[in-house]
Symmetry: C2
Subunit: 442 residues, 2 copies
């Protein structure tokens, strides 16, 4: 069992416009506290102790539901003195419940789960290890608010908001041994009630290590500005490694904007997949009508469908609703959509000219398009092994974009020939390359 | 390093018709000794000591090549006294080379690699553990030749060819600690030079354990009869769990017969895949010609292609040439073949009648057929998890068989409608079932 303590007692006055209680602030569709807990679960935590204070009841409601959904224990501990006393008192409320090293988090900090995983996997950890951000010029950081850290010989020497000289920033992610409670008690007796005071106390004894997060993402949601910055950072991180060129530079920016809006609704990723599929079906029918105006509208709808098709995965990742089923369901619908679109174009040509040759070209376009998807997994896995640099991947984004261009220019024949030739050649190329892959051939 | 000693010095007079030296006898395309070593490699062995005698030079030639192919050390030790002395002397030749527990095998015994894996994974093994077959009525066994075992309290009490009462048979698979060499030396001094003598010596001291192989395959290739029995057993074991009904009861028996013949040639599995694909292409062209006789021939060729399509995997497994590339390459060609066959049938109808509706039916048949393959992996994995019993799997075997029937009966329209409807419904059913799989729905 890996235990995680989260301080969620404070009020967060600077973020009133987003919600009356900071842990409850809706960030891209989820309350901050849920986001923190789900990230910690991804990092391997499986028992939670959340210290509540301000707006205790709605917070407990959310946590109970989350506990049900995840099947994990999420205990809430009310700190009645949350309003008058410093945050060290909140940490102390869990003292009797935890006898082993634990993860200490703030309810309003977002972070990449790999930070916690890597922090915990270090061996020979001192009493406390604080994950710190050494990017001194990190634009995400509000210098007047952030807690600064001075480091010497990989140990913290000073911690505080007002340090003039510093080596990094406190990310709010702590590995703690239970000795932290003792340190808190000692400091409180001296009337120093903040968590930072206890850290400084232990740092004076050379007992606080650091863990550099390097370029991993973290954010402290303090005010509307940091909220907006974190939002755009989280969205940016949704980009997928295996995106093709069109997806990366054209579809993704638009789909991210849509996903941001969608994240605040109850629309599920699978519903988005079905919607994108439906749009593609309408586009196919418009293609099949055979005249130019429907062709243009169809081309635009096909491209819109391709863009929306990115949103299902984005929303799923944003709201921790990823599932292998979801990805598969989306892929299966995409294959149907591809076939319908190409058949619509084939019918467009065939009904206009009656040329049998178009049927054969259309057949090869549909087949090649399928084969490209059918061979994609194997090929992508090889790509991962053999090359790290990006090269041009002929995928669905490209296919649909070609359809859009062809429709706008009324060059359906060209599209079909292009798809038929390029897709099949690429499929055959993959068959040859995958046999004896080398870094040169890929 | 897991070491394996193989005795391959003897002559094997009873199998002269198959080859002049038993380890060199060609069994389904590979010399027995290569088969033994490759099986042991699959079981986790990675260093080999082969004791040679009769026909030393050709044997060493094969072993050197095998060592190159596998990248593993295969040492050969010549036993100059192989013709006059008992087989215990052969085992003794490796005495100075082995200081840890090892696997001892006969060069003429075939076995399922899981026997060795399970034997080695047992803990607290005594000095020797012999894998024994307790199926007293096993039809594979020649009672006059096999070495019998009497067991008491999970230890061997007696071993010999002439035991009247026995509990099992010696499979020729031994786990040995180096103390076996000591036992051999003691027995040889008493003029008892067989491996069996040393085992009996250790058994008298209650030091020989047993490992029951249960219903796992093993065979001692002694004479033409045991050779033939083992051959048909090995072929039978090539049946695949995920075979559909047509594959299991119609295609497989024929393809196994063909694979048996093919195994003795140099034809590679990929060449077989390409041949099966070519036959399907010819069938498609015959379909597209539009008249009945070519339709019948095409239907038969399609079924032949489907049967041969089983041979690539069978030959690969028979000759230890399996590769993930091979399976993938075969699958990609199958998808092309499926598309061509269905397009051929569509063209058949279309060119006969000019009916546009046939184009749409053909499109859905091709698409549905693709989707069934595209969804197969996910669905099959779920099947493995949720059900153990066999149920009807609508796969490629069924699809091609329907095409054969339709072609023979000149009912192309029916085939296409059937494929279009059934394949798409099945694909949609899979999409629904995979979402919330339960034992009832599958």
């Amino acid at each position: 069992m890996m235990k995680c303590v989260i301080i969620a007692a404070g009020k967060g006055e600077r973020l009133q416009e987003k919600g009356t209680s900071k842990p409850l602030v809706n960030f891209l569709g989820l309350p901050l506290i849920e986001r923190t807990i789900r990230t910690a679960i991804k990092a391997g935590m499986n028992e939670f102790f959340v210290v509540t204070g301000h707006e205790k009841d709605p917070l407990e409601g959310i946590l109970n539901k989350l506990s049900e959904d995840t099947g994990l224990d999420i205990h809430t501990i009310y700190n009645p003195e949350w309003e008058n006393k410093a945050n060290g008192f909140s940490v102390l409320t869990v003292k009797d419940k935890i006898k082993e090293p634990f993860l200490l988090l703030m309810s309003d900090h977002l972070f990449d789960p790999s930070i916690v995983r890597n922090l915990f996997s270090k061996s020979n950890k001192p009493d406390v290890v604080l994950a710190i951000d050494t990017k001194i010029n990190n634009p995400m950081i509000a210098l007047d608010i952030v807690t600064k850290i001075k480091v010497d010989n990989n140990k913290i020497t000073k911690i505080g908001k007002n340090l003039k000289q510093y080596d990094g920033f406190d990310t709010g992610i702590f590995y703690c041994k239970p000795v932290i409670f003792k340190a808190l008690e000692i400091c409180i007796k001296k009337d120093k009630g903040f968590l930072t005071d206890a850290i400084q106390y232990l740092a004076d004894k050379n007992k606080v290590g650091i863990f550099k997060i390097k370029d991993k993402f973290w954010a402290d949601i303090n005010d509307p500005e940091s909220y907006r910055k974190a939002e755009s950072e989280v969205l940016k991180n949704l980009n997928k490694q295996q995106d093709g060129i069109i997806a990366r530079y054209f579809n993704r920016p638009i789909s991210l904007w849509i996903s941001k809006k969608l994240s605040f609704t109850n629309i599920t990723p699978n519903q988005i997949s079905i919607f994108a599929f439906s749009v593609a079906c309408i586009a196919s029918l418009l293609f099949a009508m055979g005249s130019y105006i429907p062709l243009i509208i169809g081309g635009i709808l096909a491209q819109i469908s391709s863009i929306i098709d990115g949103c299902d995965g984005e929303v799923a990742r944003l709201k921790y609703q990823e599932s292998s089923y979801g990805g598969w369901f989306d892929a299966v619908l995409d294959r149907y959509a591809d076939a319908f679109l190409l058949f619509g174009l084939t019918w467009h040509l065939y009904s206009n000219s009656g040329g049998n040759l178009y049927l054969i070209i259309g057949f090869f376009a549909i087949t090649g398009s399928f084969m490209l998807s059918y061979t994609a997994d194997k090929y992508d896995n090889l790509m991962k092994i053999y090359i790290n640099t990006r090269n041009i991947r002929i995928g669905r984004d490209m296919r649909i974009f070609v359809i859009l261009l062809g429709a706008l220019l009324n060059q359906v024949e060209l599209i079909l020939i292009f798809v038929a030739v390029v897709m099949n050649i690429e499929a055959i190329r993959r068959m040859i390359i995958c046999k004896n892959p080398t870094t040169e051939t890929l």
